[in-house]
Symmetry: C2
Subunit: 374 residues, 2 copies
Amino acid sequence: MRTLVFSRIKKQLAEKPRVILPQSLGSLFFHYYHYHNLTNREKKSSHYILGPDLPDVWRQPHNSVHPPRLTSKVEVNHELIPTIIDGKSIAEEIRSEVAEEVCQMRDTKMKVPGLAVILVGQRRDSQSYVRFKTKACQEVGIRSLMAELPEDSTEDDVVNAVSSFNEDPSVHGILVQLPLPQHMDEEKILSTISLEKDVDGFHPLNVGNLALRGREPLFIPCAAKACLELLLRSGVELMGKHVAVIGRSRVVGLPTSLLLQRHHATVSTVHAFTRNPEDITREADIVVSAAGVANLVRGSWLKRGSVVIDVGTNPVEDPDNEHGYRLTGDVCFEEALQVASAISPVPGGVGPVTVAMLLCNTLDSAKRAYRLSC
Amino acid sequence: MRTLVFSRIKKQLAEKPRVILPQSLGSLFFHYYHYHNLTNREKKSSHYILGPDLPDVWRQPHNSVHPPRLTSKVEVNHELIPTIIDGKSIAEEIRSEVAEEVCQMRDTKMKVPGLAVILVGQRRDSQSYVRFKTKACQEVGIRSLMAELPEDSTEDDVVNAVSSFNEDPSVHGILVQLPLPQHMDEEKILSTISLEKDVDGFHPLNVGNLALRGREPLFIPCAAKACLELLLRSGVELMGKHVAVIGRSRVVGLPTSLLLQRHHATVSTVHAFTRNPEDITREADIVVSAAGVANLVRGSWLKRGSVVIDVGTNPVEDPDNEHGYRLTGDVCFEEALQVASAISPVPGGVGPVTVAMLLCNTLDSAKRAYRLSC
């Protein structure tokens, strides 16, 4: 038995070259030189304990444009009749619940909830997302406000727009449509949104209160809430279930993992640095995929009878489509149908429910502001 | 293929009895009555989306008092020479680094860091933990202050003690020794600690900033930081590794999971509701156990060559010991030695490094207060 005594091994290590590979996937666990060859300054930097801040770069599957053909690897389903989790009808159900409450609020308080959206620049996808959201607001009686700023605005211009909505008591939710132009600091701008109007739920205090059992965040990110609504409204039991959450963004993966744990699921978080994503995913009873990579999750990644929530909305070229592209999920839908017991499709799954959750968050915020019970 | 249309199935469900089992571990996923038999009020309560707030009650292993004998199930290790990760010497190394910096601070700024501890009541274990901490402070030159309050103090008395330390510029860290007497609201008292002096790192803003990549918490909980120090200083590579974190408390399990993810490990969080903890743990390259259950993790739970960090400090009866008990970890140490490539022992593993991390957090806080670079 060998006890680690650092003074003894330091000498042996002194001569080794300092090699820090960003993703050294060798089989050895022990790289003594890693710690010992760091300078004192490096050891004391926040990256030492917090880890390196690396982007999640997924390798594209070979055939990500067209859905892959079924291969013999996929266990073909002769008995299961998979349920297609119908996001459109669930969203409709939620929207009608919201509309009813907005109506009550107008009748009793002479007020309606208000959602402000800030759009910078002329990205067509951003414009169409914003149109979706404002249309959804109108349909349920939520007032929507827009601030459209030119591409070459300064950070201060955007911060000023946020501040004026912060101060407006008729606004209960503020959304800054992402991505912002490259010359702007997203983090800085988002952090100026008042905690009470952060309907996206990205504020670290909201994230902390989501992570800590027994505490309640003011807002939960809409896409994470949508995943849970799809599962809960489809009667999927979560307690004790093993869930693989693929992706760990602050928009979907992270809050979904935290929320599933609040429901006492056992969560494995799979990300771009995971060595064997297919093996871990295949062990899961429920798979939530939010990697943003078309056709990443093959049928062979799934356990027979698993429930699949596909959060991916990836544009893939499609010459047959009038726009030249169509949206597809992270999951090979046709393959998954052969093994899963239930799956949410793309489009028509998580997407519409996410927009409905934005309406819910705005309504909840207005109820808090007008001191109506939530 | 069957599409979920709620209006159609509602009628069929109306006659089903409402049965909500706290841990119904059946094989069926779909319990349609769960969602549909909830009242509107229940659906709108925070527990619906946030999940039920349940305590983690682990089943005690049959033989938790005495370490179990080796059974034939454990794969016997004929080749591996396991490394015992020596927490004592790592803690010593860290303490000497802290002492050096405190010395520099005294020389250049004529100031030293200050840690205030609030102890309520006369619990012998709490008294001994507090003694440990104050002794460790003295050894590295950190000034320690104590407020001892009687068992029958009011919540206001404790809050007043916290407030006076909040205002004292010579205090850089405040610890309220837990558990508090039952008539006190721990959450309320802890939340009065100034964010800048929250050396335990339990504030939700610190937890949120730990969870969100790209952001930096002011403090990371000491035990989580200790696990990472043990792994990093032992040269264990984390990126891409599969880690099973057993337990999900805000003190250890949760922050350790979040911190490991910042290092790009793939984390599975195992807890008392996990159905097959041994199967998930056996897949892991690294196991961090913080369940607080003596001998929970058997040798058969571990993959050959895995690295084991045992955070458990469980008192078990021991007539041979002068106090009538001794401390033991969550892991069957002798069994683990047969399969693991490295393991931290109890005592002498995580414990001393956790105390050293408290000194580091206090030092960092003082450096921030005196505007010295961290």
